[in-house]
C-alpha cells in the first residue's frame, strides 16, 4: 500500500512534467497549426542552460534565467525560421521543426559532449521530504510538483483573466477566426511560441536533475509527449492533461511492480518449457512488466487510435 502511494506521487511527477510540455505544444498547435517537433529539444536546452548557469551562480538563478533564454530563442526561431517556412505549408513546417530538433541535438553535443552532465538538485532541497514505511520521497520531487502546479495556475489565470488570454482562448476554440484577430497576429504568434518554448525550458530546468541531462533526453521524452498529444486528441488541453497523467502513472507503476509473464502463464495452466532457450516462446516466458514499461505508451496509443481515431478528447474526424 505504501509503495502504491509513493508510485502515485512518482507518477504524478512524471505526468505533470509531461503536461508541462504538452500544454505548451498544444497551445502552439492550436494557435498556429504547427506541431513543433523540436518542442522537447527546447526542454533539453532548458536543462543544459540551467546546468551551465548553475556552475556559476547556483541552481536558483538558472531556474529563472534559463527558461527566459529558451523562450527568447523560441520567439526568434518563430520569427526568422518558422514564419519563413510557413508559406510552403504544414508539412514543410513539420519537417523544419524536425530538422531543428536534429540540429539542437547536434549543437548540444557540440558544446557539452555526448555524456550526461552533472546537473544536480540544489543542496537546499537535497533531503528526504517524507517516508512511508521505508519508501522515501525526496523533497526535490515535492518541489517539482509544486512548481508544475504553480505554472498551471499562472497559465490558467492568464488564459481566463487577461485580455491576451481571452484572445488566445478564442483562437483555441475557433481556430479559423485567428486571422480576424487584427494586425497583431504575428506578435501573438511569436509570443505564444516564445511562452510555449519557455514552459518547455522550465520543465527542462526542473526535470534535468532528476531525469538526467544528456543529449538523448529530448527524443526520449519527445516521443512520449507526442503520444500524449495524439492520445488526448490533437489540440485538446484537457485531453493532453488526462493522457499525460495516465501515461505518467502507467510508466511508474510498470517500472516498480516486477510482475512476470511466467507466473501468469503458469497460473493460466501452461507448462513451463524445461529447456527455455530452445522454446519458440522464450521471450514471452521471460517477459517482465518493467521490461514492457517503455513500450506501454506506444501500445496504448495504437489501441486508442484503433478504437477512437480522433483521440480521447478529440472532437471531429477531419
Amino acid at each position: 500500500m505504501s509503495l502504491f502511494i509513493v508510485n502515485i506521487l512518482d507518477g504524478l511527477v512524471t505526468g505533470l512534467l509531461l503536461f508541462m510540455l504538452c500544454s505548451g505544444l498544444t497551445l502552439i498547435f492550436s494557435m498556429m497549426g504547427v506541431l513543433n517537433f523540436a518542442h522537447a529539444s527546447f526542454y533539453m536546452l532548458g536543462a543544459y542552460f540551467a546546468y551551465q548557469i548553475s556552475m556559476f551562480t547556483g541552481f536558483w538563478a538558472g531556474l529563472i534565467v534559463a527558461p527566459i533564454i529558451v523562450g527568447v530563442m523560441g520567439a526568434l526561431i518563430e520569427r526568422y525560421g518558422l514564419r519563413r517556412v510557413h508559406q510552403y505549408g504544414h508539412v514543410p513546417e513539420l519537417i523544419f521543426t524536425f530538422g531543428l530538433a536534429l540540429l539542437i541535438e547536434e549543437f548540444v553535443q557540440f558544446f557539452w559532449g555526448r555524456q550526461q552532465v552533472p546537473y544536480n538538485p540544489p543542496e537546499a532541497l537535497d533531503f528526504t521530504a517524507f517516508a512511508i514505511a521505508g519508501n522515501t520521497f525526496p523533497a526535490y520531487k515535492v518541489f517539482m510538483i509544486f512548481m508544475a502546479i504553480a505554472l498551471f495556475l499562472v497559465l490558467l489565470y492568464i488564459l481566463t483573466r487577461t485580455r491576451v488570454g481571452m484572445t488566445i482562448q478564442a483562437a483555441l476554440s475557433y481556430p479559423e477566426t485567428v486571422q480576424n484577430l487584427g494586425h497583431n497576429v504575428p506578435m501573438v504568434f511569436m509570443g505564444v511560441f516564445g511562452v510555449g518554448t519557455a514552459m518547455a525550458g522550465l520543465a527542462g530546468v526542473i526535470a534535468g536533475p532528476v531525469m538526467g541531462t544528456f543529449p538523448g533526453m529530448a527524443f526520449t521524452l519527445g516521443a512520449i509527449v507526442f503520444v500524449c498529444i495524439v492520445v488526448g486528441g490533437l489540440g485538446s488541453l484537457w485531453g493532453a492533461l488526462v493522457a499525460s497523467l495516465l501515461i505518467g502513472w502507467m510508466q511508474t507503476f510498470a517500472a516498480s511492480y516486477n510482475l512476470r509473464m511466467e507466473d501468469l502463464l503458469i497460473w493460466l495452466g501452461f507448462e513451463k518449457p524445461t529447456l527455455m532457450w530452445e522454446s519458440a516462446w522464450q521471450d514471452l516466458w521471460t517477459l517482465t512488466l518493467p521490461q514492457v514499461g517503455p513500450i506501454l505508451p506506444y501500445l496504448f496509443m495504437v489501441i486508442v487510435l484503433v478504437v477512437r481515431p480522433q483521440g480521447l478528447f478529440g472532437k471531429r474526424e477531419t
Binding site: F29, L35, G81, R84, V85, Y88, H90, V91, P92, L94, I95, F96, F98, G99, L100, L102, L103, E106, F107, Q109, F110, F111, G113, F219, A223, F226, V227, I229, V230, L234, A280, Q282, D283, L287, Q291, V292, P294, I295, Y298, L299, M301, V302, L305, V306, P309, E317
Partner: protein, 430 residues
C-alpha cells in the same frame, strides 16, 4: 501549345514507351553496368551498394512524401522488417536451399507490404500531422519491441546470416563484392522502374490528387483513406525490397535498422534531393552518401554540418537540390544560361570562403572544448596547424566569415538582376 490531334498520345501511334522516356533508363542501366569497371576498389563497391539501397528506400519514401503528401517519421519500420524477414528466410534456407539469392528481395517486399497493410489500416485514416505522429509512435513501438522479442530480432546484437548459403545463380555464389553489386544494381533498376511506372498509373495520379486536395478527390468518387492506404502499401513493398538488399549486403540487421534515426535520415535524404521530382530522392541519396562518407572521414562534427545543411534546405530551397537544378532549365532552354555564369563566378570565391571559415570556427571551438588536456594543437584543411586555445585563429576565422558574408550580401542584387534577365526575356519570346 499542342492541340489534341497532334499530341503524340492521341495521334495514331500505339507505341507504349516513347524513346525519350526510355533513354534515361537505358543510360542508367549502362552506367550501373560500367561503374564497377571504373571504381573497382572494395571501398567504392561498398559505397555504391549503400547508395543503391538508399536510393531504393528514398524512392519508396518519396512515394509517400512527394506523391502522397504523407510525412512519415517511422518508415524505417518497413525497410527494417523487410530486412529482418529476408534474413530469417535466408537462415531458414541455409541448410537446404531451394532458391537462389537474387529472389530474396521479393520476400522482403512482401513482408514490407504485409506490415504496411496492417499498420496502414489505422494510420492512413488521417493525413497531415496526425499521420506523422502515428508513424512516429508506431516506429518507436516497433523499435522498442525489437529489443524485447529476442528470438526474432536478436536483441541488442541483432541477427546475421550468410548470403552464400543460398543456391548459386548461374555459377555466382555472391561471395564476391562485385557479384553483390550487380545483384543490387539490377534490383535498383527493377524497383526504380516499378516505382516510376506506378506513378503513371491511375493510383499514382490519384495519390497526387489526394495530396493536393483530398476533399475534391472524395467528391470525384475516391475514398481519400483508401488512396492513402494503397500508396502506403506500395511504399512499404519497395521499402521492404530495400531492406532485403540491406540484409544481402551487410548480412546483419539490428535495432538500428528500425529506429527513429534511420527514419529521420531517409526524410533528410529525400528532402535534400527534392520531394517534388521523381529523380529527387536519387540525387539526394547519391549526394548524401558521398557527403556522409567524405565528411565523416575528416571531421567529428559532420552530423552538425548535415543538420545545418538540412535546416538551410528547408528554409531556403524547399524543392531541394533537384529543384535548384530545375530552376536552371528555363534559362537553359532560352539559351541564356550564359547570363548566369559571371555572377555565379563572382560569388564562388566568397561562398567558398564563407563556408570554409565558418567550418573552421566551428572546428576550433569544438577542438578547444573537447580535445584532451594538453592537446592544444590542431590541424585544419590539411596544412593549417595552430593552437586551438589561442584567440588569433578564431579571430581570423570570424573576420574571413564576416567579410565574405558582407561580400555575398553585396553581390546578391547583381545575381538577382542577372537571374531576372535570364528568365524574363523568355516570357516575351515565347
Amino acid at each position: 501549345m499542342s492541340t489534341p490531334s497532334t499530341n503524340p498520345l492521341t495521334a495514331g501511334t500505339s507505341r507504349l514507351v516513347p524513346l525519350n522516356h526510355a533513354l534515361p533508363w537505358i543510360i542508367a542501366a549502362v552506367a550501373l553496368f560500367l561503374l564497377p569497371v571504373i571504381f573497382d576498389s572494395r571501398a567504392a563497391l561498398t559505397i555504391m551498394n549503400q547508395m543503391a539501397i538508399t536510393i531504393v528506400f528514398a524512392l519508396a519514401y518519396n512515394m509517400l512524401l512527394g506523391q502522397g503528401g504523407m510525412l512519415s517519421f517511422g518508415h524505417a519500420v518497413y525497410m527494417g522488417l523487410g530486412g529482418f524477414f529476408s534474413m530469417h528466410v535466408l537462415n531458414w534456407m541455409s541448410d537446404d536451399p531451394w532458391l537462389p539469392l537474387p529472389v530474396l528481395p521479393i520476400f522482403g517486399g512482401f513482408f514490407g507490404l504485409l506490415f504496411a497493410f496492417l499498420i496502414g489500416w489505422f494510420s492512413t485514416r488521417r493525413a497531415g500531422t496526425t499521420f506523422a505522429m502515428i508513424s512516429l509512435g508506431v516506429g518507436q513501438l516497433v523499435a522498442s519491441l525489437s529489443i524485447i522479442i529476442v528470438i526474432f530480432f536478436g536483441g541488442e546484437e541483432g541477427i546475421s546470416g550468410n548470403r552464400t548459403d543460398m543456391l548459386p545463380f548461374f555459377g555466382w555464389d555472391f561471395g564476391q563484392q562485385q557479384e553483390v553489386y550487380y545483384l543490387t544494381a539490377v534490383w535498383l533498376l527493377i524497383a526504380a522502374l516499378g516505382m516510376y511506372l506506378y506513378s503513371r498509373t491511375p493510383m499514382g495520379r490519384l495519390a497526387n490528387a489526394v495530396r493536393d486536395n483530398e476533399e475534391r478527390a472524395e467528391f470525384l468518387g475516391y475514398s481519400q483513406r483508401n488512396v492513402r492506404w494503397i500508396s502506403f502499401c506500395a511504399s512499404g513493398f519497395f521499402a521492404g525490397i530495400a531492406g532485403a538488399l540491406f540484409a544481402i549486403n551487410f548480412e546483419i540487421l539490428t535495432e538500428e535498422n528500425l529506429n527513429l534515426a534511420t527514419s529521420g535520415s531517409i526524410l533528410l535524404v529525400t528532402f535534400l534531393g527534392g520531394v517534388g521530382f521523381f529523380i529527387g530522392p536519387i540525387i539526394g541519396a547519391i549526394v548524401f552518401t558521398l557527403l556522409q562518407t567524405v565528411l565523416s572521414l575528416h571531421t567529428e562534427i559532420w552530423a552538425l554540418y548535415v543538420g545545418i545543411l538540412f535546416v538551410a534546405t528547408v528554409m531556403f530551397f524547399p524543392f531541394g537540390l533537384t529543384g535548384l537544378l530545375a530552376l536552371h532549365v528555363m534559362p537553359w532552354k532560352l539559351g541564356k544560361i550564359g547570363y548566369l555564369v559571371k555572377p555565379y563566378a563572382k560569388m564562388a570565391v566568397p561562398t567558398l570562403a564563407f563556408i570554409l571559415s565558418t567550418a573552421a570556427v566551428l572546428e576550433i571551438l569544438f577542438h578547444a572544448r573537447h580535445a584532451g588536456r594538453g592537446d592544444n594543437e590542431m590541424t585544419i584543411y590539411w596544412w593549417l596547424t595552430f593552437d586551438s586555445h589561442s584567440p588569433l585563429p578564431m579571430i581570423i576565422g570570424l573576420v574571413i566569415a564576416g567579410v565574405s558574408a558582407y561580400a555575398l550580401v553585396k553581390l546578391a542584387p547583381g545575381l538577382k538582376a542577372a537571374w531576372d534577365e535570364a528568365t524574363h526575356m523568355g516570357e516575351a519570346g515565347k
